[in-house]
Subunit: 340 residues, 2 copies
Amino acid sequence: MRGTIIHGPGDVRVEDREDPTIQKPTDAIIRVTAACVCGSDMWPWRGIDEIQDPRPMGHEYVGVVEQIGDDVRNVSVGDFVVGSFMASDNTCEICESGFQSRCIQGEFATPGGAQSELLRVPLADGTLVATPGQPDPKLIPSLLAASDVLGTGWFGAVAAQAGPGKTVAVVGDGAVGLLAVLAAKELGAERIIAMSRHESRQKLAREFGATDIVEERGEDGVAKIKELTDGYGAHSVVEAVGTQESMLQAIHSARPGGHVGFVGVSHDVSLPGETLFAAEVSLLGGPAPVRRFLPELIQLIWDRKIDPGRVFDLELPLGEIAEGYKAMDERRAIKALIRP
Amino acid sequence: MRGTIIHGPGDVRVEDREDPTIQKPTDAIIRVTAACVCGSDMWPWRGIDEIQDPRPMGHEYVGVVEQIGDDVRNVSVGDFVVGSFMASDNTCEICESGFQSRCIQGEFATPGGAQSELLRVPLADGTLVATPGQPDPKLIPSLLAASDVLGTGWFGAVAAQAGPGKTVAVVGDGAVGLLAVLAAKELGAERIIAMSRHESRQKLAREFGATDIVEERGEDGVAKIKELTDGYGAHSVVEAVGTQESMLQAIHSARPGGHVGFVGVSHDVSLPGETLFAAEVSLLGGPAPVRRFLPELIQLIWDRKIDPGRVFDLELPLGEIAEGYKAMDERRAIKALIRP
């Protein structure tokens, strides 16, 4: 099969690789219908995350089950499935509490990289969710979004306790931030403030449900949020960047007693205890337990109630994936969908 | 009147000072029946918090209202009252959401220091809570505890979402930690693990409701908590120290999806974003909104259902307060009660 390997900063290549095989009776092999490039893939691509050895890339996927291990019960060959980037048994105490991203048996769901033709998924029963039938091709981008960026934005909004009567601010206008706006809207938030200075992203944020746009960043952005909320700050803030500035912007934008959901993968962030103590906001973040939300998100997409696939503004065949990385790095594209 | 002033590390003196007077129509003056020395008073006493100028000490108090401003409606002259260390209007959006410690009009409730004979309390209506009548003198220590250490331990347990079916770990065996144990018990926790290596404190922790004692600290303490919880970690952890080690111990002792309530005043704490991202626990802390809990706590004390005053193991007249600071610094006393 063909699959994507990163060799160094700015150097991703599509190569011939061994087909994955069932290694444990709980594995499934899927034929990838669509995959994509993640904002977090930019970290190694930009050389910020060190690349020790060439490694496969991609952790977002939808596809058709091609083979299952002997113990797999919940999905069958031929099913169209969506999975998370984290494999989970979906039965341990941590999974049952809704944190499948931290399953006691958990491991990465895409050891061979999802930006490829075939993919082995561990713990298939607890990781993969079949759609109600073979999907209308128009739904593929949205189902793919559910695999990570929608699930992650949704978790950010849930962790920030977005809901009726709440003012929600979203720091970050990448795909996750934009989909946190959509999530906040679906969760019933009264007011949604998108922090963005890019016109096309502002437009999509408004279409997803943002009621206000704030272009200022850092402490100026905080001041603007305070101004918009009678001096109190937002009830809920979603952080979808992962830098020191964005984390502090998020924490300071929330009112005391408010909630910050942080889903941007942290890079060189260090939070002073005194800042957290003084802010008195609830902080919850980490890799999103996408599996918790998948059944609900798939149904919303299936019923055409949400259209998160709109974050894909570039579509490429697998062989041209390097252009997807470049376009995202240069912010020419919000997110690139890849067809193997 | 006589009041306590700190002049430098290890140097607290009881001095003759001006009687406080009503400065705003929302103020009240109370005659202090009992005050005490707080764990947080140790920071300046030990020279860890810099003392720029001599300043009055004490922020925990019960007493009798001696005078009220023209706008005060909720307490009357002669009432026995308990107040928090933070003044609050108890009507703003932040107060209404239960975060009176961060009232939009908030200020310190004890500008003149509570370790004194008389005290001016701002925003008396929203800050002070009158007891159902003049209390039995035996209840004074417990009512005084409600003013801070009980309210703070209670907030820690609530922030950590202690409750039925939960395993709660408490880091710190000072008065706040011990009362977090009591709070967890009252909130219905199934299992309460007190982390302490002091025999007398372990004993009190058990009497307050601890089911297990862990003597190990740091990563060894974390390993022990994991061992006691089938490898998952505690559902709820209360941090009641405020150091880097204790914060990391608390965060790592909680299971993914669990909750950490941190109420130890942070000193030189810096939390790596990566650690928080990987831990995937909810974090909430800060100055406790004691006012939220006061009516309930006063009633529990009044009805003899809880006896938090047991944390006071030293009682001194105001003139001997310096010995209270010394005894607490040397850990000869858990907490010193002062009678002006």
